[in-house]
Amino acid sequence: MKNNPVLRVCSKVLFAPIILYGLYVQFHGDYGPGGGFQAGVIIAAAFILYGMIFSLKNLKKVTPPSVVHALMGIGALIYGGVGVVAFLNGGEYLNYNYLAADYAKGQHWGIILVEFGVGLTVASTILGLFMAFAGFEFSDYKQRKRR
């Protein structure tokens, strides 16, 4: 699809604003609609658009699957880690009141960090799934089964 000038130009123009919007949704979740889940999908959508227009091979150069697969776990670990930090500070697991001296500030930090973890996991999972689906070779699968 890279040879179609309309698609190529439009996707190049759209790529950065989509990511910017995703970041806005991610970090503005406290004040408006949105949060990690939605932001993750939006950011992944930008990369999927890139992959659809400029081929999967180029997408894999931008976001290597090994990195994407690692980020899936890192996001979940960030979420769990926030809980552990609260735990070590003397509170219950995931009790954000204990993250900072002021409990309102602790809640703010906790929510932002947790949403970041969620966004990371969702974005990388969706991107990883897309790359796996788009790169799936049926002939390989059949060969594998025959063996």
């Binding site: 949060g35 150069k61 703010h108 906790g110 799934l129």
Partner: protein, 192 residues
Amino acid sequence: MAAMLIDLTLVGFMLAIAVMIMFSHRLFAIIVMSGAYSLISAAMFVNLDAVDVAFTEAAVGAGFSTVLFLAAMAWLPAEEKRDKALVVLPLLICMVVGALLLWGVMALPPLGDPSAVVHHHVAPRYLAESYDKLHIPNVVTTVLASYRGFDTLGETIVIFTAGIGVLLILIGATGRQPSPIPHDDTEDTDEK
């Protein structure tokens, strides 16, 4: 009244799309129409003032699922295999489940009823605390990430596990290592 009218229009659209999906045999058309179906249900959530849910539905249901279906479609025949067999049992199951759901809906309190039980358990405390004490105007985020933090942790783990499972099936089946440089540079199937 206006909300009611919008709802009725949207339900009309959804019914029309559902019937069109039922009678269509072209896979591509069905996928695009199910995306439109999700988009309309997102509009319905906006009408219910559930903006966060609408957001998710539009991004995941209308956006990503459609892309995944299209990616999966490459491995399927374009036309559905027409099955002339009798469909009494599925029809019966659908009707019974539909009737049960309608019966369940009857018992729900009317939409926006302030005296409903759900609005009197923990919700008033969340609403009062979220803005005055924590200064977070979006109560949905507070409930999702803080008050119900364990649930959201579970959701994240579910997404992670589901992703790992699908990746194991797809990459494990082909035996391809997830390498940044594709091992076979001669084939270029993605640039059709």
